[in-house]
């Protein structure tokens, strides 16, 4: 198989980091465009619950399921602030074990798009795992 096809496959099928935290920076600008994030969980049937804050302001209070297109705020308003997401994911009898619990996080609306995945493994049903995401917005 040609190397470029394998490279493309590798790019599309990027393996998530085996980690429970994601800490990074995201560049915003002085515009009024809103920055939004997605937080998608896998595999099928896991039970996630997340709390989302921008500095001390609560954006979402203990919300179940995947989070899509959550508005963080306008570029010019969020510079110098921290987005923090605390998540607990429970694996019940609805999910086959062992399960690779993946968390796909993406940000849009700033100077570019951001995407990163992290993962933990649950070997038995009834397990819960904790994830945390911290993003610092800078100009």
């Amino acid at each position: 198989m040609p190397d470029n096809i394998i490279e493309n496959l590798n790019a599309d099928f990027t393996a998530p980091d085996n980690a429970s935290t994601l800490t990074d920076t995201y560049q915003v600008n002085g515009s009024g465009t809103n920055v939004a994030f997605n937080l998608v969980f896998g595999p099928l049937g896991v039970a996630p619950m997340s709390a989302v804050k921008l500095d001390d302001a609560v954006l979402l209070s203990n919300t179940a399921g995947s989070l899509t297109a959550v508005n963080v705020g306008a570029n010019k308003d969020i510079a110098g602030k921290f987005l923090t997401i605390s998540t607990v994911v429970s694996v019940t009898s609805a999910t086959s074990v062992p399960a690779n619990i993946t968390l796909d996080f993406s940000l849009t609306g700033g100077t570019g798009n951001y995407q990163h995945s992290i993962m933990q493994t649950a070997n038995v049903s009834g397990t819960s795992v904790f994830f945390s995401i911290t993003i610092f917005f800078f100009t």
Binding site: T14, S20, L44, A47, M49, A64, V88, S128, F131, F138
Partner: protein
């Protein structure tokens, strides 16, 4: 009520119990296989790859194909597309949904198997072996919602998760984390006095430090969560462990599969070796009230013809159709059960075997103290019972000894 039911049992005459081997066949025989492709190819469940994300799927194919350099000789994979693709936001809170979109994607499973063997499905590793490929699909069309008990268990799980997150937030407040965050804030504020490169490098350095602190906090929390014997977060551990899905309402599931032989090992010439379709529907009622199950099964060239127990037919070019239904009523807090089951079996493409029926009626009443009255009436497919009037009846009085342990 108890006396009336007891009298009903005692007034029933007792018939001789006689049946052939066919009477042991139950409706479960017609159940759709969990993986239609592997059922048709006869692949053992232990040999099946079940990747849950795109990366593990890639690794699985890469290993089987010697790093994408050749077609695998033996490979079996079962995937849930919703888990692999971007549709994987099908989390547990959506499992109670009855909308077709959620039900379809959550239940959709695709199985694919490739193996080599001779005409008798034996792998010989010589010129008599040829490629065999099978694929199968299964999904739900209608699915019932959660029972009140399941909704309560899910609410309990969410409550304990909320409690955990509140605790986690409290535990995550560390002076060192706040100090590093303060330094990052100061860098952003001091931007006019810093060049871009210095600022980005400094932020990067501080973010790495903050990441290490966050990871240490998360590791400590996860260690407490994984400790099954520890007392921390016991309510969350119990709620996750105890959660079971019970559904109440109508359902309809479909599964199908086809197996192809490639006698010349060329993919431009194939023969259909087996195919099948299963349709399962009914009404689930948890553990009480009336539950109904109906199954219809079509098979093309099956390994074993259900309506042909004497094996006088060869399976070549044979199609069979079998169906069955079961009705179960559970009342009086589980003490009284009534069930009826009927089975139909036929060979569609041969006239030598006539279609036939079997039906049974079962009822039981738990009178306590290890005593249970049971009654079974029915007509068998054939054999002694059929010849003697097609009635099977049995009255059992089971008297247990010792403690009053319940017999089911």
């Amino acid at each position: 009520m108890r006396n009336i039911i007891l009298a009903f049992f005692l007034l029933i005459p007792v018939f001789a119990w006689s049946q052939d081997n066919d009477s042991t066949v139950t409706l479960d025989l017609l159940n759709a296989p969990s993986s239609p492709a592997f059922n048709l190819l006869g692949i053992a469940p232990s040999a099946i790859e079940r990747p849950t994300d795109l990366n593990s799927f890639r690794v699985s194919v890469q290993n089987a194909s010697n790093n994408f350099t050749r077609l695998p000789s033996d490979y079996s994979v079962e995937v849930a597309p919703a888990s692999l693709a971007s549709m994987k936001n099908q989390t547990l809170d959506k499992f109670g949904s009855t909308s077709f979109n959620d039900v379809f994607w959550q239940s959709l499973g695709i199985s694919l198997g490739l193996t080599h063997g001779n005409a008798q499905d034996i792998e010989t590793n010589d010129s008599t072996s040829f490629a065999k490929l099978a694929c199968g699909v299964k999904f739900s069309i209608i699915r019932p919602g959660w029972s009140a008990k399941t909704k309560k268990l899910f609410a309990d799980l969410q409550t304990t998760q909320s409690d955990f997150l509140d605790s986690a937030e409290y535990m995550n407040k560390s002076a060192e984390i706040n100090r590093v965050k303060g330094m990052m804030n100061a860098l952003e504020t001091a931007k006019p006095q810093l060049d871009e490169v210095t600022k980005k490098d400094s932020l990067s350095h501080l973010a790495a430090r903050l990441g290490a602190l966050n990871q240490a906090q998360a590791n400590a929390l996860n260690k407490l969560l994984q400790d099954t014997t520890g007392k921390s977060f016991m309510a969350l551990k119990n709620a996750a462990k105890n959660f079971k899905i019970e559904r109440v309402g109508g359902f309809l599931d479909f599964a199908t599969g086809i197996a192809l032989d490639f006698p010349n090992n060329r993919f431009d010439y194939s023969l259909t070796s087996k195919a099948g379709g299963w349709l399962t529907g009914g009404y689930e009622n948890g553990n009480k009230g009336i539950s109904v199950l109906g199954i219809a099964r079509y098979l093309y060239q099956p390994d074993k013809i259900y309506a042909n127990s004497s094996n006088e037919l060869l399976a070549a070019d044979i199609s069979t159709f079998d169906c069955g239904a079961r009705l179960v009523y559970t009342g009086l807090e589980g003490k009284f059960t009534v069930s009826a089951e009927a089975l139909y079996r036929s060979v569609l493409t041969a006239n030598t075997i006539s279609p036939d029926w079997r039906y049974t009626f079962n009822t039981g009443y738990d009178i306590g103290f290890n005593k249970q009255l049971t009654l079974a009436l029915g007509k068998n497919f054939d054999g002694t019972t059929t010849k003697n009037g097609n009635i099977i009846a049995m009255l059992n009085l089971i008297a247990g000894f010792g403690s009053a342990k319940k017999i089911n």
